[in-house]
Amino acid sequence: MGRTEILIGGVGGQGVVLSGILLGTAASLYDGKQAVQTQSYSSELRGGSARAEVIISEQRVTDPEVRKADILILMAEDAVGRYLPKIKPGGLLVIDSDLVKGVKPGEYEILSVPATSIADKEMNNIVVANLIILGALLKKTGLLSIASMEKAIEVSVPQKAKALNLKAFQRGLELT
């Protein structure tokens, strides 16, 4: 696996950027890979658009932009129109099926995760939907080791939220 480009699109407050950080941290610090993570978001603090990009590679990442996403994660309906064109033919499209409805089949594989409803019902907190998705993604692709991701969660998430985030991640691993 040379270079994997991951694009995550959603709205503010969903932890889109955190997902990117976790992927990058796991890859870079614990999985012996190189990674670069970038991001942008609109100025609304809640409900605005948010986007994170991660590139994971065995060698140093030269070009730091996602050009065509190997993996596209969509966490909100708004993001579909914006980012779907960015997926690589044959890429993997991961969606939060509770919030993303308008995806038509195309030249990509779809991994559909009812992350928000699981987070809501089982964790009582929809904000960890992102970690459920990460779990499902890792389970599906083996992109990174589970231990690395767990370490990344340990160092990146505020103390009091760690347990919940880990739990959500592990719940995600059980999916698919």
């Binding site: 990674a35 970038t38 100025s43 990442v61 030269t62 730091p64």
Partner: protein, 384 residues
């Protein structure tokens, strides 16, 4: 260097945080700023770390007072910096001119964002490149560095402080939202591996009347406050003693030229570039984040057997015209890449056009650095 200042280790760190860590490592003691996306993380991190070593970050009422406070602190003998984005720089320009005029070491970090005006705050563009050099009224030289990664956000911030102190001048770190918000591996070395420079000050006890504290091409020792130098530091045209002169054109001439010459005389030392154009016919010239796409494109081109190369400007100001000329004398084609509509391009072309064909490859979308594939196409086209 104080060990407490250097957080030696390996991190997956955001560029803006790395910048703040660089400032810590460089010995920054005072920071002042005003919140603005996408620069806030630098301020937040400094606000946390500086007080731990006896410094502080001050949130001022605006950017005008931020740079003013920084200049004041610098005259009080402190290593000082501010951080903002384009709109903040636009407000600081009068006082940046002041800092130039009275030769004040300080570091100004500009995490550039979508512009003009309020624009698009979280998108990085290289939109304020010439502003750094010409934004304030009048002629002057300034130093500006362009990092392309979080690692360089750290390293260049250290260099920026060193240049500021050495040449008694404001130094720009011209980052952008893309690099500033980028996270990547950052390795921070041990404290004793980090070179830091402190400004020269006159010998304590020097007779104030004999003290030439200004307008020396070789950088006059700085008569900082509180040491009995009785320094007269004025934004008006002045002579090497700091004495105001508001009528003699020859005094104005000296004022303007000496300030510039101080930087130009040391241009060679100040200039940092990455040259990778041995034997290349097509050379890509770029800086900052864009240079990573350029490097990738050249990699691809070479794979295809095209004699391509890169020249990356780390120091963009003072403009390294000599480097451009040297390169252009060897190259057939020069392609300039910037994440803007071509701001440095005329400066490059001016030096290169006599020797080679020069063209500008604009980003497909301003705000997104050129796709290596598109660059490659352009290279192939040109070298046909």
């Amino acid at each position: 260097m104080d060990e407490k200042r250097v957080c030696t280790g390996r991190y997956f760190m955001m560029g803006n945080v790395a910048c703040a860590e660089g400032a810590m490592a460089a010995g920054c003691e005072f920071a002042a700023g005003y919140p603005i996306t996408p620069a806030t993380e630098v301020a937040n991190h400094l606000a946390e770390k500086l007080p731990q070593v006896g410094g502080a970050f001050f949130q001022m009422e605006d950017e005008i007072s931020s740079i003013a406070a920084v200049i004041g602190a610098s005259w009080a003998g402190k290593k000082a910096m501010t951080v903002t984005s384009g709109p903040g720089i636009s407000l600081m320009l009068e006082n940046i001119g002041f800092a130039i005029g009275v030769e004040t070491p300080c570091v100004i970090v500009n995490v550039q964002r979508g512009a003009p005006s309020t624009g698009m705050p979280t998108i990085g563009i290289q939109g304020d490149m010439v502003q750094a050099k010409h934004g304030s009224h009048g002629d002057y030289e300034i130093i500006a560095l362009c990092p392309s990664s979080p690692q360089e956000m750290f390293e260049h911030t250290v260099i920026a402080f060193n240049y500021a102190e050495k040449y008694r001048t404001p130094v720009f770190l011209l980052s952008d939202a893309f690099v500033g918000h980028m996270r990547e591996e950052v390795v921070i070395p041990e404290a004793d591996k980090i070179k830091t420079i402190y400004r020269k000050i006159p010998e304590l006890g020097t007779d104030p009347l004999k003290l030439k504290g200004f307008l020396d091409e070789n950088v006059a020792p700085m008569p900082i406050f509180g040491k009995g130098f009785k320094a007269h530091v004025t934004s008006s045209c002045h002579d090497e003693y700091g004495k105001r002169n508001l009528i003699d054109i020859s005094a104005l001439d000296k004022f303007v030229r000496k300030l510039s010459d101080k930087i130009l005389k040391h241009k060679e030392e100040i200039t940092l570039v990455e040259r990778d154009y041995e034997g290349a016919e097509v050379v890509l010239v770029s800086y900052g984040g864009v240079s990573r796409a350029a490097a990738e494109a050249v990699l691809q081109a070479r794979k295809k057997g095209i004699a391509a190369g890169t020249l990356r400007l780390i120091t963009v100001w003072p403009f390294p015209g000599e480097e451009i000329e040297k390169m252009a004398r060897k190259a057939k084609h020069v392609i300039v890449l910037e994440n803007n509509l071509g701001q440095i391009y005329p400066y490059i072309k001016a030096e290169a056009a006599h020797f080679s064909e020069v063209s500008f490859l604009p980003p497909k979308l301003v705000g997104e650095i050129q796709d290596p594939e598109d660059i490659l196409k352009k290279i192939e086209e040109i070298s046909k």
